[in-house]
């Protein structure tokens, strides 16, 4: 290192313009820099997955839960129960890819359940048309959300929050604030039996997950949503139908939330006003948790499923270990706050400026 007292004049001895060696190291800088970064990036990608595996191992060997947690019955129970949240989360995922919130998924699934329950019991409908109406209720709510947000540029968070409250009120009126029981047995059987050793609700979840994966990854529509989420103005200026895409995203979200509601009805055999509201936050928590893993910074189907089961396994294990009821809301709330923060950090780092 040069520590002499007399520092060379800055320009002395420097080559003059034109007689300079060509630059040689510009190209291999990136390669050098990325070796260490790649290790960190891989850890970052699979941190939540590893954490989920770790949790399963811990609850399987922990004396307090080793008898109850790693049983087939308990694991099937988690999977079947969480299918409702997971399907709702996959619904909310679709508009979130375009950076639009749908916080009405819980209320929508609640109203769809009430609609189907009401029509099959007091309405005299057969099961299939009643389920169809339930699904159409969700599609209609989503379409209204999408129209207000996409066409008029209203804020998605506020519109869907208002819609959630409105839909909840309609549910209370339709159900006369009562629990509707006595839905056809075929439905409850579907909700509580296995096929090939796997609960039937999980098969439904797999079907929905494949459908959403197809939509987001293997259609132009999915690419358009991703582009809108990245830069809506740039998406418009390359000719993408921004309004139509956002509208359709909300319609899909509503329809998928309704499927979650029908599954809830199948699981519990009844519908009650207000029951759906509890699903919104866990669903969004799962999507945001999922955006920190597998493809950090992006909302994905695989990430969302990891997110759902990460929260579910944690809460289930803690409950079996004897934790009190308040653990679940605290855990869910913490998961949202931490996941959204982590997701925001990732997004900022990725959209961020280079030096």
């Amino acid at each position: 290192m040069n520590t002499t007292d007399v520092i060379e004049p800055a320009d002395a001895g420097r080559a003059s313009a034109g007689s300079l060696p060509p630059s040689s190291q510009a190209g291999d800088r990136g390669a050098e820099a990325s070796t260490g970064r790649r290790v960190i990036a891989t850890l970052e990608r699979y941190a939540l997955v590893l954490l989920l595996i770790l949790l399963v191992i811990v609850f399987s060997v922990l004396p307090a839960t080793s008898d109850t947690f790693p049983t087939l019955a308990n694991l099937r129970n988690i999977a079947a129960n969480e299918s409702v949240v997971a399907i709702a989360a996959l619904g909310a995922l679709v508009p979130l890819v375009a950076h639009q919130f749908d916080v009405s998924v819980g209320a929508t699934l609640g109203l769809a359940a009430i609609a189907a329950a009401e029509l099959t019991t007091r309405g005299g409908f057969a099961l299939a048309p009643a389920l169809l109406v339930g699904a159409l209720v969700g599609l209609a709510i989503g379409t209204v959300n999408g129209t207000l947000i996409a066409r008029f540029g209203a804020n998605s968070l506020v519109i869907t929050l208002g819609m959630a409250t409105l839909v909840g009120g309609i549910g209370a009126w339709w159900s006369r604030n009562d629990t509707i029981l006595g839905v056809p047995e075929w439905l409850t059987t579907f909700g509580n039996t296995n096929w090939l050793g796997v609960p039937k609700p999980v098969w439904l979840l797999i079907a929905v997950a494949l459908l959403v994966t197809y939509l987001l990854r293997f259609t132009v529509f999915g690419r358009q949503l991703l582009s809108i989420g990245s830069n809506p103005e740039a998406a418009r200026l390359v000719g993408m139908p921004v309004t139509r895409c956002v509208l359709i995203a909300f319609a899909i979200s509503g329809a998928i939330a309704a499927v979650a509601g029908l599954l809830l009805l199948a699981r519990t055999g009844g519908a009650t006003a207000g029951v759906g509201d509890g699903y919104t936050l866990p669903a969004l928590a799962a999507v945001f948790l999922g955006s920190t893993t597998i493809r950090p910074g992006r909302f994905t189907v695989a990430g969302t499923l990891v997110g759902v089961f990460f929260v579910a396994v944690s809460v289930n294990g803690l409950t079996l270990a004897g934790a009190a009821d308040w653990v679940e809301p605290v855990f869910n709330g913490a998961a949202v706050v931490i996941a959204v923060t982590a997701s925001a950090i990732l997004v900022r780092r990725r959209g961020g400026t280079q030096s």
Binding site: N2, D5, A26, A33, S34, L237, V238, R350, S355
Partner: protein, 528 residues
Amino acid sequence: MAERTPDTTAGAATRRPAGDAPGLAVRNLSKTFPGMRALRDVSFDVGRGEIHALLGGNGSGKSTLIKVLAGVHQGDPGGTVAVGGQRVESDAITPTWAQAAGIAFVHQDLGLFAPQTVAENLFCGQPYPRRLGRIDWRALRADARATLERLHVAVDPDTLVGDLRPADATLVAIARALRGRDDVHGGLLVLDEPTARLPQAQVDELLAALTRYAAAGQSILYVSHRLDEVLSFAHRVTVLRDGELVESRAVAGLEQAALARTIVGRAIAQAPSRPTRATEGEAPVLELRGVAGGPLAGVDLALAPREVVGVAGLVGSGRTSLLENVFGVRRPTAGEVLLEGRPLPPGDIAGAIARGLAYVPEDRARASAFGNLGLPENLSAADPAAYQVGGWFRQARERSDAVRAIADYAIRTPAVDARLAQLSGGNQQKVIVARWLRREPKALLLDEPTQGVDVGARAEIYAQIDAAVAQGAAVLLVSSDLEELLHLADRVVVLARGRVAATGTREQVDREWLIDHVYETSQEETRS
């Protein structure tokens, strides 16, 4: 280390008063990021009262150097930085030290608040004067007025910043940076691309103001890509390449071509003196008939195949509106646009693209870049449907096309799947242009395609434009860079008051013609 004194005679500028401490003395400054040396043993001086241009391509280390001066990044141990006699080890610079030593920064985006007044902006981030617990608006205004007067900024403190002309806004940002100093022109003023967004007339105005500040003793370090401007206005230049200092010398005797070679490290292609490529008598590809709307008052224009038409004009003359009305971003209030003789549906971007139009907007970050998406997604953004085959989006095919585009257009990227934001500005712009070229557009609309792009990347973007022309495209090029217009255009039209005020062929147009016509028309404007 205390006995080490910076050699103030190094590279002495004749204008500098003898015996005075230099405005800035950087010695042996290095900066290492994990796995990458961004700066390597850089030493140079900025004399007191000197305007010193910092030049270099994207990734040369300019931004890193400025961030080290600001205390945003810490330099490696072993270097020193001195400002007006206050010296500090390069790994000990903090934002607080930078401020105390009197380094003021004005960034390219200025960081002003458009809906607030000039006075409010000047006090932004600092305590407002108070009286009886309330804001003393009168004292605020008086202080603001005094600050503006000391810097000869002819702006009313009650004006909203959003209403200022760009050059005045820049001066207000400078005034904010220098406000509150005892010696208003002490310390060092660092400007990042202060002229990049200014129309030519206001560039001269801003540079005149900076020259006046320098004459009063202000040391100025400024980053620019505009070499003609540097040569006519700076006293000294320092050129960085790949983190190393290539040259630090007086401007006198320096030629633009030589300077460009120093920055790039290789000779850049000279403007080819080629004949007009468009053939006389061929049916126009793109035709505008009486297009009006916004600032446009009825524009008629026809572009032949393989013709590059440059659009010059002052800000507000309707240059950007012209492109937006053609592409369908805006719907013209009158007139029509024809592509290959058939009218384009007004206000229909997707329809215009389907017919073969392409548009590279001015503001990349806002209007064309998908920063957090990868290069394949960015390159296919204008025609994703091309990859939907048999109900499935073919990502593998999209990626292999991206690999080819990266090679074809010399896009420098750490990886094929790198996010666009990871690339330098020039390479991002190459991606945006490549996005359209793969569609083989019939007409290409470009709005300031090389703004803020370094010399090397600029040459490559010009090559892309040439490739589009070779494919048969007509190009409508809006640029406030006169050299660029002279280099690329077969024909230049000057817009004023929303109309075509002058047209010149490649043979007629030169620097003087452009300056004459852009300014003559604007004088008429003020007279009328």
